[in-house]
């Protein structure tokens, strides 16, 4: 079974005065057709950069991308700019975090969607405009014809994000990259957008990479989850498995810090003490070692490899000890 998107050992580094700094340090993941993959991590974990690297949208002349990104078998790293350009908005579409600034202020919504359609298809201007209205309808916007004539600033955040999604889907992409699409929105709108994304997979047959820092978001929406820390993937599993049997101390910390609606009410929310390491001062071994409560000497020597077939984890804690260690962190 060949994956739709196959990332192997991806590294994104930046040239700085003090040398090369690796923001994404050897990430490997795969997305199958019509699969929703959630990538979870805090700010600075490298999740956004991973996905920006797919379409070479990092936009920094000092960025260096190494490794392999294969889309339907075609290598994208080092690919000719023209080939990449044709993929953008066509087979692979991307939506970004802040809907407020994502759209060009001086063009109407309909015009911007139609523009993308006309880049990838031969449709006439009128046909493209009509299709734009259809798409706005498909994402659940009321009175889509009027919205198409509006300018971005006339829409609310939630409406704008829907419009952005409509635009991204306009050319039936096989893969949608969604970089924290709900972070800038209220919770109720968040839920609607997530539902919309689930619907997309069903109606449009798109695979989705959903990036977020919020585990709650992936719990509802993703089929598989990858947890990133300091530029590396530390755990990767089917969503249900991840929540039922989390295996990495960082994942435990994340789960433990979520307030529960049911169960025992704790006095204080648990936190993970300390901070992620600065990108240029990553420790030699496991990046999480300085904050890990179960660290042992071998952890500081070399980063543990990501091991496991369906449920992979980058940690040396033997399976037998895992249960009790976890219980300690997630205790009521």
């Amino acid at each position: 079974m060949s994956a739709l998107l196959d990332v192997t050992d991806l590294a994104v580094s930046f040239r700085t005065r003090d040398g090369l700094v690796r923001a994404v340090d050897g990430v490997s993941l795969a997305v199958a057709e019509r699969e929703i993959l959630g990538v979870v991590g805090e700010s600075g974990s490298g999740k956004s950069l991973t996905v920006l690297a797919v379409l070479d949208l990092i936009g920094d002349p000092n960025a260096v991308i190494t490794g392999s990104i294969r889309f339907r078998g075609q290598e994208l790293v080092g690919q000719a700019p023209e080939t990449l350009r044709r993929l953008r908005g066509g087979a692979i579409a991307m939506i970004f975090q802040d809907p407020m600034t994502a759209l060009t202020p001086v063009f109407s919504i309909g015009a911007q969607i139609a523009e993308q359609i006309r880049v990838h298809t031969d449709l006439s201007r009128r046909a493209a405009k009509a299709r734009a209205v259809e798409l706005l309808d498909a994402v659940g916007l009321p009175d889509p014809a009027r919205i198409a004539a509006r300018y971005p600033m006339e829409l609310s955040g939630g409406q704008r994000q829907r419009a952005v999604i409509a635009m991204a889907l306009s050319c039936n992409p096989a893969l949608l990259l969604a970089d924290e699409p709900t972070t800038a929105l209220d919770v109720t709108v968040q839920a609607q957008i997530l539902e919309l994304i689930r619907k997309l997979r069903d109606d449009f047959n798109s695979a989705v990479i959903l990036i977020t820092h919020n585990l709650g978001v992936v719990a509802e929406t993703a089929d598989r989850v990858a947890v990133m820390y300091s530029g590396r993937i530390v755990e990767s599993a089917m969503t249900a498995d991840l929540f039922a049997d989390p295996r990495h101390p960082y994942t435990w910390g994340l789960l433990g810090s979520m307030p529960a609606l049911d169960g025992v009410r704790r006095e204080r929310l648990a936190t993970i003490p300390g901070l992620p390491p600065a990108l240029d001062r990553r420790p030699a071994g496991c990046a999480f070692a300085p904050r890990c409560g179960f660290v042992r000497d071998v952890c500081r020597v070399a980063p543990p490899p990501l091991a496991g077939a369906d449920h992979a984890v980058a940690c040396v804690i033997p399976e037998g000890e895992r249960g009790s260690a976890r219980a300690g962190v997630l205790a009521a």
């Binding site: 040239r15 000092n62 300390g274 420790p283 904050r291």
Partner: protein
């Protein structure tokens, strides 16, 4: 779990804002070359009296209609008969291109152009820098007062600034210059002669105040609403303290960026006013007046018009490049270039 991690060692204190900016500026080759050029020009102009005495042996302010000068062993008239077949008209002596009397030739009054260029440069530079200083100080004052205190202080000052700026700048300069410079000011104790340089300095300084004051006011308003200033007000810091420690440094750094540009603007304005004979008054010289003199000699002795123009271009160009360099150095958002 440990509280202190290996990564939380104390970083060395960051170098100061001005030190970082200074270092960045020094690395900007174009800006440094421009600075050097400006210094050289200033020094040359400062040496004007020395040049007049020892090199050109002339008095650049006195007509020399019947003078002679020795060149190539021949004695030539400074203002000789013209070169045309009928010898109609008078033609001043041309440039010798050698260090000595009349290196750049003479003007229609027989005066040494090179010496007048240096003296003219003194006046032009003096007026530009002084008026720029006047402009920046007044703009800082009005901008800070209007931006910080708001209310009717702001309304009043903004109204005055808008009224001043509504008048097309150059025409305002001309109007004021015509009225004041041709006749001087005289009211009781306060008297300024028509030839006093304070007049163009004040006029040119004042007319550009709104141009600088408005951004300063905007900056101060933004600062006043910034979180750290509101925090300072919140803990009861007195106004003068906030002004001195929080507002003033930012305003100063904005003014530093403006400074070379304003000097350049003022230099061009002074040149234009002098060209129109309402700037520096004869017999004093400025680069603008020399271009004016050179206009009537343009087809016979073009160097009289070309030289001061080039001087202005070089000076203004250097100021602009320096201004760009300063702006890049003081901009905290500058991205790293490889």
């Amino acid at each position: 779990m440990s509280d202190m991690t290996a990564n939380e060692t104390l970083a060395p204190p960051a170098p100061g804002y001005w030190a970082t900016a200074g270092r960045k500026l020094v690395r900007d080759r174009a800006a440094m070359i421009s600075l050097a050029v400006l210094v050289v020009i200033a020094l040359l102009c400062a040496a004007a009296p020395w040049y007049a005495r020892h090199v050109s042996h002339t008095n650049p302010f006195q007509s020399n209609l019947s003078g002679t000068v020795v060149r190539h062993g021949r004695t030539m008239e400074v203002l000789g008969a013209a070169d045309n077949p009928l010898h109609l008209g008078i033609e001043p002596i041309g440039p010798s291109w050698r260090l000595g009397p009349y290196m750049l030739g003479a003007d229609q009054q027989g005066r040494d152009v090179a010496a007048r260029m240096l003296y003219g440069g003194r006046n032009s530079l003096l007026i530009s820098f002084a008026s720029a200083a006047v402009c920046l100080v007044l703009a800082a004052l009005t901008g800070i007062l209007a931006g910080f205190f708001g209310g009717w202080v702001d309304r009043g000052i903004s109204f005055l600034l808008d009224a001043l700026w509504a008048f097309p700048v150059f025409l305002l300069a001309i109007s004021l210059s015509v009225v004041l410079i041709a006749h001087g000011i005289d009211f009781g104790l306060f008297r300024l002669d028509a030839s006093s340089l304070s007049l163009p300095i004040t006029i040119i300084g004042v007319i550009y105040v709104p141009y600088v004051a408005r951004p300063v006011r905007g900056l101060v308003i933004g600062l006043r609403q910034s979180e750290y200033v509101m925090a300072a007000i919140g803990i009861g810091a007195p106004a003068w303290r906030i002004l001195w420690y929080d507002i003033l440094p930012n305003v100063i750094s904005a003014l530093v960026v403006f400074a070379p540009l304003i000097v350049a603007l003022d230099l061009l304005t002074e040149a234009a006013l002098s060209f129109l004979s309402i700037g520096v008054q004869p017999p004093a010289a400025s680069w603008g007046t020399i271009i004016h003199d050179g206009e009537s000699l343009i087809y016979t002795r073009p160097v009289v018009a070309i030289a001061p123009g080039l001087a202005i271009v070089i000076t203004v160009l250097a100021l602009n490049i320096l201004g760009d360099g300063l702006r890049d150095a003081l901009d905290p958002r500058a991205k790293l270039r490889n």
